[in-house]
Symmetry: C2
Subunit: 167 residues, 2 copies
Amino acid sequence: MPGSGKGELSRLFQEKGVKVVVMSDVLRERYKAEAKEGERLMDFAFRMRNLYGKGVVAKMCLEKLSGDEKVVVFDGVRNWEEIEEFKKRGEVVIINVHASPKTRYERLMRRARKDDVLTIEGLIKRDFEELEMGIGTVIALADHVLVNDKSLEEFKREAEELINRLI
Amino acid sequence: MPGSGKGELSRLFQEKGVKVVVMSDVLRERYKAEAKEGERLMDFAFRMRNLYGKGVVAKMCLEKLSGDEKVVVFDGVRNWEEIEEFKKRGEVVIINVHASPKTRYERLMRRARKDDVLTIEGLIKRDFEELEMGIGTVIALADHVLVNDKSLEEFKREAEELINRLI
Ligand SMILES: Nc1ncnc2c1ncn2[C@@H]1O[C@H](COP(=O)(O)O)[C@@H](O)[C@H]1O
């Protein structure tokens, strides 16, 4: 979920030499080329899914692989159909980085750029949009959960322990 | 999710003198009185929701309170509308007891009565039925996560620490 700190986990994987595909980057590339005027990234994603199926973003990400990666991290899975796409290509391990809504909203507020007007109501609305995409199913069926509500050091320690078990 | 060990958490709350309302028990009471012949508990729950709204099981559970409880545990929330019902009555803290599907399925297989024929396919199907009820949203927005994939002792220790912070 937004603000949980999954980017930090990706960074740690990357440090270990693991290829990371940030799904929103791949989506954004396509968005720049194909979005309608004024269309938000999230609305573009909904439209792509309606056009090409709910696993479409995973398919776009799989095209970014050379084919000889042993382990790849896909950062930003949003629904179970994406997991199904990944499963066609290899073993899938789902990691959920969890933080409470309170912690996430505080982080997002702190992290906001000066010209962002973030409100709690807006963040809650965004959470429910993410959930509508189907992310709750992926979270509920995660193989590993890292709870990121303590210090960054503690999170890193737990994340590294998990990474070492997985790669 | 089924087999995560949430019942164990309820038991620990109860040991501390906290009232626990097991939502499936309340549902089952009504089921015995009103279910159609051959109707499964889960299908009865779906039907009740269609008839009386998605928060109906929470409403039924709230009727079980005397009104002077300070803290109550509702064991078995399945959707966000139930959370909304509880919020009308007081502060709500959501605890997710998480275990990986692999761990849950192993536990459920081990726990099965002799005459239960549990298959992995059947358990996966049930997971997706629970998710269809909306439990993924509640899990994604949990205030606390207890990961129950280690020893029972470790789980109890973490659970007791959380309980002491909450009551
Ligand atoms: N809040 C609820 N709403 C609807 N169905 C429920 C609820 N709680 C329990 N159930 C049903 O009861 C079964 C056992 O629930 P549990 O005791 O929580 O594992 C579930 O599989 C559901 O079919």
